[in-house]
């Protein structure tokens, strides 16, 4: 089938999903043990969206993310050790502990970056696509955003310009049914938000967001279109958030039936099923065990790493208010 991932790519996506899942689970435990700081937004159940979409990209492509970015970070190649240490506020984190889990950025990997202003990832990628177009390279920019973020004004403004200027950007709407605790039916009168793409003369596709292979195929088509100068695409990935909004969410509004339903379509199980014909169970178990061990090592390393120490800016800092002030 057109744009299908190679077996190696599929296995790598599988491995990365397990990395992310393990990270989320460990963060859940660490939170319960009082070892995390601030709210943490897990993406259990949604891994295939971020991992599948980023698998298509090259090193010089750009990705912008949200408050729920762990799969996007790992998908775009940010080091799991740096990510883990950053989430745990360590000096060894990707951003030295300054940013925290919602704002991880890694310029060298093209992941710039997490964004906890809902909707913020959308103009961010659109602006990068503008830069790509002005400079005339064949790169693309990709943003992830939620069904909640789709209701922000900046989403409309960005998509209109992307469609108008045929910018090389791929919009990945990660439709996990909720914006914070509020169900999508209470946020928008239309269930399939991708129908709005027509208003920007932009093609759109609804994709099973729990299937890395489906994500890969749809995104690959969109990326090719963008690289050819034919403009943006909106991919609406239907998925479900299996955990609370964040570690401080007291829950109570997700139905058991929905949870059970989506649990049956766990993206890691879907991926295992798809690989079953080509790869032995042992090989898959081995890959998964490797992923788990990698995360566990990253967690231990981060917990043992030093906390950052504060240094006040000097007058040469961009934050100085006066050239001579300290």
């Amino acid at each position: 089938m057109k744009n299908s991932p190679s077996l190696d790519e599929q296995l790598e996506m599988h491995r990365k999903m397990v990395v992310v899942r393990r990270l989320e689970e460990r963060l859940g435990e660490l939170h319960k043990a009082g070892k995390t700081r601030g709210p943490i937004h897990r993406c259990d159940g949604q891994e295939a969206v971020g991992i599948g979409a980023t698998a298509v990209l090259g090193a010089s492509d750009f990705v912008t993310s949200t408050h729920r970015g762990h799969a996007h970070y790992i998908g775009k190649g940010v080091d799991i050790r740096g990510v883990t240490a950053e989430i745990l506020g360590r000096a060894t984190g990707t951003c030295g502990g300054r940013a925290g889990h919602m704002l991880i950025g890694d310029r060298d990997k093209g992941m710039i970056g997490g964004n906890a202003i809902v909707g913020g990832s959308i103009p961010a990628a659109t602006g990068m696509a503008l830069s790509i177009q002005v400079r005339g390279t064949a790169d693309v920019a990709m943003c992830f955003f939620g069904d909640g973020a789709a209701q922000t004004g900046i989403c409309h403004e960005s998509m209109n310009m992307a469609g108008l200027w045929k910018l090389p950007v791929v919009f990945i709407l990660e439709h996990n049914q909720f914006g914070l605790t509020v169900h999508h039916t209470v946020q928008s009168p239309v269930a399939d938000l991708s129908l709005r793409a027509a208003g920007y003369a932009m093609p759109a596709e609804i994709v099973d967001g729990n299937d890395t292979v489906a994500m890969y195929r749809a995104v690959a088509t969109a990326v090719e279109r963008a690289r050819r100068g034919e403009g943006p695409t909106l991919i609406e990935a239907k998925t479900y958030r299996m955990q609370g909004f964040s570690t401080s969410d007291m829950g109570g509004y997700q139905s058991d039936a929905d949870l059970a339903d989506w649990n049956r379509r766990d993206p890691i199980q879907v991926s295992r099923g798809a690989l079953a014909d080509s790869v032995s169970t042992e090989r898959l178990d081995q890959i998964e065990a490797g992923a788990v061990a990698e995360v566990d090592a990253a967690v231990e390393e981060a917990l043992a790493a030093p906390l950052p120490t504060f240094e006040l800016f000097t007058r040469s800092s961009p934050y100085a208010t006066a050239p001579e002030a300290v």
Partner: protein, 324 residues
């Protein structure tokens, strides 16, 4: 009188005002079914229904603009903006809309309240920890309050809802669990525009609002150990300012420290310093000391965040410096 958390005091104020006046309604993200991420609106959708307590899409810009015109046309909306960091999204509604009509049109009133919460200390990172007080305090025609006690939270929120002008109501994420005595008299209002002396003193005046009042009180304890008598004034209202309370205290102490959790440059503390310059220069024996966040983003990791937030030790140091 009853002991209750700051969040509960706010909840009680909302409930009482909604019971009293059917034109009061609430809207905001996650305030309905869930009861608000800080639980301030808990139970109100059940009591008042889905029309008067609305969960909204994530659309701060339009929500604020809608509060302005809903308030012009017969209702008293109370809008919750989840974090003060999102205030930039509502500033057009405040600066280019709410601010101008009372002057331009005169025969309109805009009795809406915009509640939000800001501040650091919870590890929420650079986009969820800011105090942007001066952005809103800069706007003509908008009142701004920032209570620290549960009793003031209740009394000022009730005053804000009954006020005929727009009021921005600033809460603080670290205050919601603070417990204290709160009156259950539904007619007990705390007036907007009146400061409160929370500790009397003779050597130096410390002016603060919101959580910084608590740090200032701790600073006064530290200073007392050194034999310095600090007066702590909880301004409660950022705009309009209680000038009399400020000048009277400085006339007594001749030294002033102004505290604000926001940035220093063009921040709210700058206005306090300039106001004191305007109205109490001759009483000053030393320059007013500003204690604020440094001019930088709020960092995430605990040791970094704690290093930048204004606290009792830094306030006490500033007070000592003015007395040198």
């Amino acid at each position: 009188m009853a002991m209750m958390r700051y969040a509960e005091a706010l909840n009680q104020a909302l409930r009482e005002e909604m019971q009293r006046d059917p034109s009061v309604f609430l809207f905001g993200e996650d305030i309905g079914r869930y009861g608000g991420v800080f639980k301030v609106t808990k139970g109100l959708m059940d009591e008042f229904g889905e029309s008067r307590v609305r969960d909204t899409p994530i659309s701060e810009q339009a929500l604020a603009a809608m509060a302005v015109t809903a308030s012009m046309t017969g209702t008293r909306p109370v809008l919750e903006i989840m974090y003060a960091d999102f205030m930039p999204l509502v500033l057009d509604a405040l600066i280019n809309q709410a601010s101008i009509y009372e002057y331009l049109w005169q025969n309109v009133t805009m009795p809406f309240v915009l509640r939000t919460q800001g501040g650091g200390g919870a590890g929420a990172g650079a986009q969820h920890s800011k105090s942007l007080d001066s952005l809103v305090a800069h706007i003509p025609g908008i009142k701004v309050v920032a209570p620290v006690t549960p009793a003031d939270a209740k009394g000022l929120l009730k005053s804000a809802i009954r006020d005929s002008q727009p009021v921005v109501f600033l809460e603080h994420k670290l205050l919601y669990n603070l417990r204290d005595e709160v009156s259950d008299d539904p007619e007990l209002l705390v007036p907007i525009g009146k400061a409160k002396t929370v500790r009397e003193g003779t050597d130096v005046s410390i002016f603060a609002t919101s959580r910084m009042v608590l740090e200032s009180q701790k600073a006064a304890e530290l200073l007392a150990q050194d034999g310095i008598s600090a007066e702590v004034i909880d301004l409660r209202t950022l705009r309009p300012l209680d000038l009399d309370a400020i000048t009277a205290s400085i006339a007594k102490t001749h030294h002033a420290v102004v505290v604000n959790e926001g940035w220093r440059f063009c921040g709210y503390a700058a206005e306090l310093s300039a106001t004191i310059m305007d109205f109490a220069f001759d009483d000053l024996d030393a320059p007013v000391a500003r204690v604020t966040l440094p001019d930088m983003p709020v960092p995430y990791a605990e040791p970094l965040e704690l290093s930048v937030l204004p606290n009792a030790a830094r306030i006490a140091d500033a007070a000592r410096a003015t007395l040198k």
